[in-house]
C-alpha cells in the first residue's frame, strides 16, 4: 500500500452569511494515497470546492484537522500556508486562470520565479513542462491566442512546475469540449502513471470520472460513498 498523502479528520466548515450559519462541510473524513486520481462528485453547493480549497490551503476548516504529507496544515499561519501552496500543491481551475499578459511559457514560470529559481533554469524547466503537455511550439503565445484546451494544458504545466505532492483541479474540463477534455485527462493519466503524481479532481464530467481510481460523492457537506 502506497503512503497516505492526505488525511482529513472530522472536517467541518461553516460560513456565516449575515446572521445565518451555512454549513458547507459536516464531519468529513477523507484519505488519499499517493499516486491516486481521486474524483470528488456531488451537486453544486454540496461543499466540493470548499473541501478542495481546504486541502489546497486556500481556506481553513471551522473544525477538524487535515494532514498533507504528514503536516497539519490547519495549524499553519498565512505565510506558511502560502509556502505550502507554492511547494506542495498545484492548482488547476475551471477557467484556466492564466495571467493574460504573460505568455504560456511565462505563466508556467511563475511558481518557479516565486521559488526564486534563476531565469535560465526556470525557462528550461517551463519549456520541458510545456513539451510534456504538447505545447512547446505555443510557448510564446499569450492565453488569448490559445484554445480553451490549450490553456488548460498550460495551466496543468503551471500546476506541476514546482513538483507538488498533489494536484488539485476544480472542474478542469467544465469549460472544455469533449475532445479537449479527453486530451486533458490523457495528460493526467500519463503523469499519474509516469510520475506517480496524485490528483484530486472535483468534477461532474463522466469523461473524468472514468479515469479516476477512486470516487467520493459529497451531498450536503457529507461524504456519501467511497
Amino acid at each position: 500500500m502506497s503512503k497516505l498523502i492526505v488525511r482529513a479528520i472530522d472536517l467541518s466548515k461553516v460560513y456565516r452569511r449575515g446572521k445565518v450559519n451555512v454549513p458547507a462541510l459536516n464531519n468529513v473524513n477523507l484519505q488519499v494515497s499517493s499516486g491516486e486520481i481521486v474524483g470528488i462528485m456531488g451537486p453544486s453547493g454540496s461543499g466540493k470546492t470548499t473541501l478542495l480549497n481546504i486541502i489546497g490551503g486556500l481556506d481553513k476548516p471551522t473544525l477538524g484537522k487535515i494532514f498533507v504529507d504528514g503536516v497539519d496544515i490547519t495549524s499553519l499561519n498565512e505565510k506558511d500556508l502560502a509556502d505550502y501552496r507554492l511547494k506542495k500543491v498545484g492548482f488547476v481551475f475551471q477557467f484556466y486562470n492564466l495571467i493574460p499578459i504573460l505568455t504560456a511559457l511565462e505563466n508556467v514560470e511563475i511558481p518557479l520565479a516565486l521559488m526564486g529559481a534563476p531565469k535560465d533554469e526556470r525557462r528550461e524547466r517551463a519549456l520541458n513542462l510545456l513539451r510534456m503537455v504538447g505545447l512547446e511550439n505555443r510557448a510564446d503565445h499569450k492565453p488569448d491566442e490559445l484554445s480553451g484546451g490549450e490553456q488548460q494544458r498550460v495551466a496543468i504545466a503551471r500546476a506541476l512546475a514546482n513538483n507538488p505532492s498533489i494536484v488539485l483541479a476544480d472542474e478542469p474540463t467544465g469549460d472544455l469540449d469533449s475532445k479537449s477534455a479527453m486530451a486533458f485527462m490523457k495528460i493526467v493519466r500519463d503523469l499519474n502513471r509516469r510520475n506517480d503524481q496524485t490528483f484530486i479532481i472535483v468534477t461532474h464530467d463522466p469523461l473524468v470520472v472514468e479515469q479516476c481510481t477512486k470516487i467520493y460523492t459529497i451531498r450536503d457537506g457529507r461524504i456519501e460513498s467511497a
Binding site: N53, G56, L58, D59, E78, K79, A82, D83, R85, L86, K87, G90, F91, F93, N97, I99, P100, I101, L102, E106, E109, I110, P111, A113, L114, M115, G116, R158, A159, N162
Partner: protein, 421 residues
Amino acid sequence: MFSWSLAVRNLKRRRLRTALTASGIVVGISMMFILLSLVSGMETQARSLARALGGADITVSNSTSFRDRMGGGGFFGALPSPSTLDASIAETISGIPGVYAVSPQFSLSGSINGRRVTVYGVEPASYEIVTGGLNIVEGRFLSENGDGEIVMGKALMDFLNLTLGQTVSLSAGQEEEGRIFTVVGVFETGMIFQEYAGYVTLADAQNITGEHGLLTQILVKCEDPSIVSDVASLISSTVPDVRVTTPTATIQQASQMLNTLTMFFATIGLVALFAGSFGVINTMIMSITERTREIGVLKAIGAKNHDIMKIFLVESLLIGLIGGGVGVAVGSILAYVFPMLTSGLFAAGASPFGMRNPFSSAVNPGLGGRAASTIMFATPAITPLNIAICFSLGALVGILAGLYPAWRASRMKPVEALRHV
C-alpha cells in the same frame, strides 16, 4: 522577479490610463522643477547682486526722482536723468553720527560712441571705501586725478568691440561728438545689463553736463552694519527733501519677494502632486479591483503577501518614474521658455542697453532699481541636482500613492479573490 515585466506590460496594456495617471504627476513635477530651477537661478543672481551692491549701506538721492520727467526721447528713448542734490549735502551727511564714509556720485544718461549707456561719475578713493570697489577684470580702476579716464563694463566693451587702452567718445544726451576718454579698466558684475555702464571721475561727469557742484546720489557707509537703518532714518530727518534707500533692505525685499514666489510655486506644485497622487491611488485601486481574480490565482499558486505587494508597488513606482521623467522634461522646456516670456514682459525694466527702468528707478533710484530689475530677469538654472530631486520626488509619490492599494491587494483572501468575476 516578474514584478518589473508584469508592471511594464500592465501599464502598456492600458496606455491611455497610464498616460492620464502619469500626467497628474507630470503637472506637479514640472511645477516643482521650474520652481527649483528658478530658485537655483535666483541664488546665482542674488550672489552677484550682493557683490554688486556690496559696499554702500545707504544711498541718498533727491526725493523728486527726475528733473525732467518724460523729457528727452520719452519712455524708452533718452531717459530723464535723476534729479540732483547739492554737493554740500555730502558734507552734512558725513557729519551725521554713525556715518563712516560718504562717496558722492553723479550718474547720467549719456552716450559712448553713440550708444546710450548709464555713466557714473565717482570719486575713486571714497567710492572704493564706501562700496568696496568694482570687480575689475582688466586694467585698473580710475586714478585719483583720473580725468579723461573711463572704466567700462565687459559687456559694453564687447558690444562696442573695444579693447583696453582705446579711446571712446562720451557725451551727455544723444550727441555723437563728445569728449574723448581712454579706457583704463574693465569691470564685470555677472549681470550683463549692469555691465552696459561706464565709470568716470565725478569732475568729468559734472563737466560733461555742466552741472558743477551737483550730485545725483550720495553713497554712505556706516560704522557698523547693524546701525544702517538707524543712520538711514537719521539722515532723512536731518537732510530735507532726500530719499534714503538701503540696498540691504532692498535685497531683503527682493528675497522676500523671492520667498513668496517660491512658496507660491511650491504650493501649486505640491497641490498638483497631491492631486496627481490621488489619481495614482485611484488608478491602482481600479486596476487591483480589475485584477482581483489574478491576485487570487497568484496567491493560490503560492505568491506571498509581499510578492503581491511588490507587483503593485513596482507598478505605481513606474507611474511615478514616468511622471517624474516627463515632468522634468516638460519642466526643462518651460524653464527654458520662461525667461523668454519674462524678458519680453519686462524688457523695458531690464534692457541691456543701459537704460534704467523708469518704474524701478522712480521707486528706488540708484542701486535699488537694479535689484528690482534683477528679480524680473531671473533665469532658471537647470542643475543635475534639481533633475535628481524631481525624478526622485516622482518616484516617491508613486510609491507612497501605491502603498495603500498594494497593501489592500496583498491582504486579499485567496478564496474570495478567486470567486471574483
